[in-house]
Amino acid sequence: MSECIVITSGKGGVGKTTTSANLGVALALQGATVAVVDADIGLRNLDVILGLENRIVYDLVHVIEGECRLKQALIRDKRADGLYLLPAAQTRDKNAVTPQQMRELTDKLKEEFDYVLVDCPAGIEQGFKNAVAGADRAVIVTTPEVSAIRDADRIIGMVEAAELPEPQLIINRYRNKMVSRGDMMNKEDILEILAIPLLGIIPDHEDIIISANRGVPAVFDEASVVGEAFRRCARRVAGEPDVPELDFSEGNGLWGTMKRWMGFGAAAQGVA
């Protein structure tokens, strides 16, 4: 049974594109077939995060306007079997597409893929409506900040209004040190306020910036903590029960210990 999942947030810059790329790669590495769709028309980004920007010929709007077939626009990621990207158009605007057209497109993709992940643009206007149109469920990304959580609450309401099931939450850019000195809301604080189930916590980590520089999402790196955090989210998305929460506090926990053992000490140091 295939599923279309929209990755959304309300606020910009909280990590939707980073999450879409990493979840997509992780699900594919776990053996699923995945299409990641960049629905941020006019502000194409997912292609560069995935390092596939040089291979774009056709985009989502070309497909919708019938200038090419869906298969021609899909870019195969040679590093992860079963992973394909449908890029956004860069020189068009969000009104080039209607929710009805998006739904038809994602329905078609669902015939071919186990997962269709839609990277939603920021905001609550047309772009959001397009991105959720064909979704079976939503993942909400937030950071532990007042403004991001406020917008997440707004989006949760809109997801409910779109008659999707209860969304799951990813808390991104979590900083253990700040949490432990009381300068950042912790997991419990945020879940109490937003009252939706948690999909996972992603640490604030320099690996994300390095991997964006290179166009190689962090989940490709076996030794990356932040990659591991995304891999666990992907396992939960795939329905694996009781995936334990990653303890990414610096040098602590099984992951830190394993890292030191295996001589990956430096990788864990990036956790702020």
């Binding site: 406020r150 609450d153 809301m185 604080d189």
Partner: protein
């Protein structure tokens, strides 16, 4: 810098995340009913004016606020009314 901010706001016993959480709780309730705290204040002034036509009230100790219940948001108001005996006494 942290301590300076704390001193300025005299919140030595509160961490910044407590402030964040408190502010968010108020913010989300107001967002959900689309009424800002300032609009709520204005409403309180109007309500007070109406009540004052009938009874004398203790404006400083009146409260009007939004509260989240189990599955709904309620407007909670407490308006202390002065007893006539207080009014009769010379100031």
């Amino acid at each position: 810098m942290n301590t300076l901010i704390n001193k300025l706001f005299n919140r030595d016993n509160r961490t910044s995340k407590d402030d964040a959480k408190q502010r968010l709780k108020v913010l989300l309730i107001h967002d959900q009913v689309d009424l800002t705290p300032a609009q709520l204040d204005a409403m309180q002034d109007e309500i007070t004016a109406v009540i004052q036509k009938y009874v004398e009230i203790d404006r400083d100790n009146s409260i009007v606020r939004l509260e989240r219940g189990d599955d709904r948001i309620a407007l909670i108001s407490s308006v202390p009314v002065r007893r006539v005996i207080e009014r009769a006494l010379p100031a």
